[in-house]
Symmetry: C2
Subunit: 135 residues, 2 copies
DNA sequence: TTAAAACTATAAAGCTACTATAAGGTCAAT
DNA sequence: ATTGACCTTATAGTAGCTTTATAGTTTTAA
């Protein structure tokens, strides 16, 4: 299976596959005489794993760490679970920060209707005056 | 006022100030004979405006757009308000996406206790099997 | 059979918003 | 005269790709 077929199968671009290989997330495949990469089903599974991790918001470093656990399957899985716990708290703190931001933005937006000149715009005034009682 | 003083006043690094100048967000200041940048109070206000926009999560492009409105103060402010509305919806869709992600991660995490080998880890199995009924 | 279309390869740059490093010039004080 | 704090420019690094450039290969169609 060549790179284009693998890409279509998993739903990524060919450059992304080469990128993962370069980053050490996907093992370098064999090459044909002309230099074309030849992939096996294993590569497909590996690539799908990476993509699902990415959809869960895991960083490439976190994925790399997970792969290192997979390579040592008789260890206890506490590290895997801890990695996920950490990631969940990453996500939760992002949510919290964005909710605070939304609140600020909505209150800023409420300080203007649409019938003013830029000069008198409540939004611009709000930003300029720095009524930002928040870090 | 030199760059270091301005930086301390507004609470940014000097490189950041040069970066904003290079990006066209801050007007190039006059220079002393030795080449040192000399800033006025106007620059301080401009920089503070940029920083407050950044704290609101606005991109440099959005800030640039706001500045272009400021340069034309007798236009109606509908564009300003619309920019903010757009940004609020950016933030809201990020929140929604992250909340969906959190839910997925929590359910994945629940599929494992801490007393297994990596081989049998519910988390890794969950990712590998691709039980991701979600985009 | 040959020419175009589609595929592959590598290397390098671009994206965002900075941050950090390198190598050097300027200034005040010791 | 030299230390230290400040300033200058240019360049590279961060994350996770995407885009572009340039070139070689295979497949398809005329
Ligand atoms: Zn994470
Ligand atoms: Zn307004
Ligand atoms: Zn926005
Ligand atoms: Zn587990």
């Amino acid at each position: 299976m060549r790179i284009g077929q693998l890409a279509q199968l998993v739903g990524v671009e060919t450059q992304t596959i080469r990128f993962y290989e370069q980053q050490g997330l996907l093992p370098p495949p064999d090459r044909q005489d002309n230099g074309y990469r030849v992939y096996t089903e294993k590569h497909g599974e590996g690539l799908a794993f990476i993509r699902r991790c990415r959809m869960l918001g895991l960083s490439l470093a976190e994925i790399h760490e997970l792969q290192s656990y997979q390579d040592d399957p008789h260890q206890p899985c506490t590290a895997v679970n801890a990695l996920l716990d950490d990631h969940i708290s990453h996500v939760r703190s992002q949510i919290t920060a964005l909710q605070a931001l939304e609140k600020q933005l909505v209150s800023l937006r409420a300080s203007c209707n649409d019938d003013r000149e830029v000069e008198a715009c409540g939004v611009l005034a709000g930003i300029s005056e720095g009524n930002m009682h928040q870090q």
